[in-house]
Symmetry: C2
Amino acid sequence: MKAVAYLAMILVAFGTFFVVRHFGESLVAPAPVEGHSRQDAAGPEPAANSSAKSSAPSSPHQLAHVLLALAVVILAGRLLGIAFRRIGQPPVIGEIVAGILLGPSLLGRVSPAALDFVFPTTIHGTLGIVSNLGLVLYMFTVGLELDGSHVRDRAHATVAISHTGIVFPFILGLILALFLYPVVSTDDVPFTGFALFMGAAMSITAFPVLARILTDRNLHRTSLGVVALTCAAADDVTAWCLLAVVVGVARARMSDAVTMLSLTAAYLGLMFFVARPLVMRYAKRWLNTEPSQNTVALLFVGLLLSAVTTEAIGIHAVFGAFLVGAMIPSGSPLAKRLVAILQDTVAVLLLPAFFAFTGLRTQIGLVSGVQAWLICAGIIAVATLGKFGGTTIAARVSGLSWRESSALGVLMNTRGLMELIVLNIGLDLKIISPTLFAMMVMMAIVTTVATAPILRRLWPENLEGGMGG
Amino acid sequence: MKAVAYLAMILVAFGTFFVVRHFGESLVAPAPVEGHSRQDAAGPEPAANSSAKSSAPSSPHQLAHVLLALAVVILAGRLLGIAFRRIGQPPVIGEIVAGILLGPSLLGRVSPAALDFVFPTTIHGTLGIVSNLGLVLYMFTVGLELDGSHVRDRAHATVAISHTGIVFPFILGLILALFLYPVVSTDDVPFTGFALFMGAAMSITAFPVLARILTDRNLHRTSLGVVALTCAAADDVTAWCLLAVVVGVARARMSDAVTMLSLTAAYLGLMFFVARPLVMRYAKRWLNTEPSQNTVALLFVGLLLSAVTTEAIGIHAVFGAFLVGAMIPSGSPLAKRLVAILQDTVAVLLLPAFFAFTGLRTQIGLVSGVQAWLICAGIIAVATLGKFGGTTIAARVSGLSWRESSALGVLMNTRGLMELIVLNIGLDLKIISPTLFAMMVMMAIVTTVATAPILRRLWPENLEGGMGG
């Protein structure tokens, strides 16, 4: 019975896709406008060209500016992080908001000269590479901390909740694309890629932020916490796999999608049937001894090569990094050592570069006029309806109480940092316009900010746990 | 009596400087030749211009190439590091040599296409910034591990040995500059900056490599080991201060040297009289509790701002980083936490970028012909005579046995990674030509490689300690 329902759900998703595609293909999006153009989407500033000379490694100013930019964004992020923690929000929101405030949305309006001094166009390229390097390492640690056995041990019910919580917003995202494409997209973006991307972008859950919220409220060992973490882990794996395919298809623009998909299949085959057994055997060697620095270096090399491969195939480098991390048994001393090595450097030094980079690309000013803000509100509503609604109903059907189900739905609606990673990929690949990027960033922030207070209302009896760290 | 000798030594150094300068100012260096030109020195490739487009953050190829370059250089460095450890050398030499072999000196000769694939010119700029970021963090950890009280507690004798071991090679470097300037420099480099830089470059000791050699041989707790470590620590502080002045003077080209020196004085004043007491008080707060991530972030911000300041003043960013590291009490939980956070990421991921970057800039092919190799041999001889000779004689005069004195001299002659950092600064600032850079890199490698075997002959009774790690 459940299998039939599951199958039906998948079929509905596919059916919706083909129906949406049928109607969508005939839609006409506006031509790219100056200032909203695809060029712009390529980087925070199309002027990067003229700055070639300054990007020479010897330029003392470039190094000084990169260091200054990092100092400013780390400081602002920490201060806002502390402020957000005071009001019961996860500090990472503060860091995300700090990045946006330091970009064209606020600092650029108040003082364009200050923006140009702190983040001159000459360093945008470097900031992009450093932030991508940070993301690769971050997704590697997310993979390392992903407890695969956790998902496998639980009842299939949890996985079913997770999958419904993905399929539902995915379908809504596809339908939403029908309405958004003629308004906020441009005619050089194929509809299919756009619709698939919107579907995937709606389905993301921020596992790390969610884990943090549960830990902050001491809920991570309760049955709700365990179900939520398992769901989120299953979400992570499913949504990222889905996104890899979507990104591949969108990037290949359907023409050489077959090559891309077969290369991806070959890569996955190599990873699961050759690399994984090797890594498992290797990880066992370090069960009782501290892994040496050479071992760590070897794993970094593997991680980098996997990231290069996924990047070269046409899906993003972060997928390769995530997969290598997920292959290493999460409780093993090797995984613990790697997390210990990376987490602070990545969290304190490299992710801020990503927040700054995202902020530079987020131009809230592009969302202007009543219509634009209505669209933005619509995106938030659809995203919440899809993820919160889908998860809540699936959880209720699986036998959880309404209160538990809705709490789970609220938790799964947290998008946080993960959504920003996905959105940056979409902007990089020119699937979404800077305007839509700004709207989606707001959606990510609103859904994430909403989680903690709503959870407190639904689940009030638990007193605040230690909010430290 | 000792004070008189010390004063005499300093006076001799100054006297030599003015005599050398008198003769040197009238020397004429050849005009920059195509291929040896100052332009070249600016970066591994002057062609960085044409690649502006690719340095846009969205270029998928650039990210893939940066990741690939890191993977290749980490793997090669580790493999050669293991090979060098087998023959009783510190692994870092293997990493340095790997960088050079992957550059134009070997890989570029065997297959220019391979060199261009692994390190395309489009990523040189990014590699430079990442390696400088790595150096800033590395010098910060060197500062963190520097035990200032160690130096203060010891007899002044050790500091005197250290200073003699700096002044002597410094004088020899100045004199050597008289001979080198007309041959390997170019006429757009002022003689004074060139001579001062050569003096400072001859006086460097690689504290970290030296510490490693002593630990590998279990000598670090012997009286020789303690004297050597204290000497090297004093060397570090003195030589880097000296170098900061030299670099400032050379960069300012004597014209606005006064501004530079007063800014440096203001910066040092601020650091010692304002920042240091604050840091000391702050560090005390974390004596019994684990420092939080916000504390770590705050210190990173301080480190970055100090590095930006020294970079902006005209001395290099690494000085600012080193100074902040040195200000934090080395045994404190705060220093330990920071070292724990940084050391592996820096050693495994970021320093390899520096080795690759150095390797790309080292063109051993520029050292061609009998004359050039004789000059190279001369540089090695003078460097060794200055550092080994100066230290040995000073140690003997201070009352150590000949055997201890010569062992200390051999240890101080280790230049390793530190020398490479200095040389890269010289190349960045266009004080030394790519040809001289290649010669000095060989000097650094030869003096470092020579240390362990010679020490084994002079100090044979100690059996090999654990060479692990």
